[in-house]
Symmetry: C2
Subunit: 201 residues, 2 copies
């Protein structure tokens, strides 16, 4: 099997949520795995000079309309903006890396459940209890998860993955690497699909 | 015929160039006209707080790679970044509105020629002489064009169109309005195509 598609995202990113609902089938069509990589955009913005979407005025007005429109097109539940927004996705991201190491089959389903908790149900996914709730939905022991959140291994892991993402030029969410080629934004998924079908251009 | 697709762009926008090469066939497929609307993003950024793409560090590194990649996919000439970049597109924009009023069939071909001058040939399209050169290519009298550039009517017109774009929520280039629905970015053209085919979602 060829190399996986690396899928960088911040759990606080609405466009990351939309991508999480689409990347699996696209990768499967081309017999690729997906390497899910939650990162903290806030940490990246400190170096890149970026800002959260919600600080962009007109662009933020547009983005809220667009993510709702894209959710309709993908026949997802009505888009909900959680409060606070953006939120610090420490707990969900650490939980993901813990799961990937200990129960890898459940890691991607958990990520999708956490995203849906935020953007379909409007939960405050910065809270460990909300993250544990999403984990329960996909059969994960929530007590073990709460314990893992304080484990230095997963804290360090999240920091390392975020640093590596930055070193690879990641500046936003979602961000994909396909055989070294970078693609930014959920609307580039169609381009990735065509790229994989044709071998690139 | 249904309302035209309004296509806002800045002549200094590489993604605007890529969109200018695609919007015609997409609109024609759905029996729509295109209302080409050059604007000055610099003026919009003063209100919106936006910045030129070239000030975005990692995103700019990515964007240069991406526009070259998209140009290859569209089988356009190799992408060239003109110097200086970004440039102030006063002359090309005023020339466009003059043409639209006086020789409307040539306005869109002129816009495409001006874009190609910048991003396929690397010319400094902030210069009236370069704009006149692009106009000559599509059969426009360059002396008449040079005279029009100093006409207050087209100066005012450009300012009014830019103000109106801002009032409609335009914050970047390309930006499309389809029956009142906003779409930002060249990669949304596929979404516009699907939207027009299905009647929206």
């Amino acid at each position: 099997m060829a190399d996986p598609i690396t899928f960088y995202f911040d759990f606080s990113s609405p466009y990351g949520y939309l991508a999480a609902e689409q990347i699996g089938p696209i990768a499967a069509r081309h017999r690729r795995d997906v390497l899910w990589r939650p990162i903290l955009l806030g940490a990246i913005f400190k170096t890149s000079g970026g800002k959260p979407l919600s600080e962009f005025g007109l662009k933020w007005t547009y983005a809220q309309r667009e993510v709702a429109r894209m959710a309709r097109r993908q026949t997802l539940p009505p888009f909900v903006l959680p409060q606070p927004f953006p939120f610090l996705a420490l707990a969900a991201s650490r939980a993901f890396y813990w799961l990937e190491a200990t129960d890898p089959r459940r890691a991607a389903p958990f990520a999708r459940a956490a995203f849906r908790g935020a953007f379909a149900e409007g939960r405050d996914m910065s809270l460990p209890i909300a993250v544990a709730g999403a984990a329960q939905l996909v059969g994960i022991d929530d007590a073990a998860l709460m314990e893992a959140l304080d484990d230095k291994r997963w804290k360090d892991r999240l920091r390392e993955e975020t640093d590596q993402a930055l070193a690879r030029g990641v500046f936003g969410s979602p961000f994909f690497l396909v055989d070294g080629e970078p693609f930014w934004g959920v609307e580039r998924l169609a381009e990735i699909d065509a790229w994989l079908a044709s071998g690139g251009w």
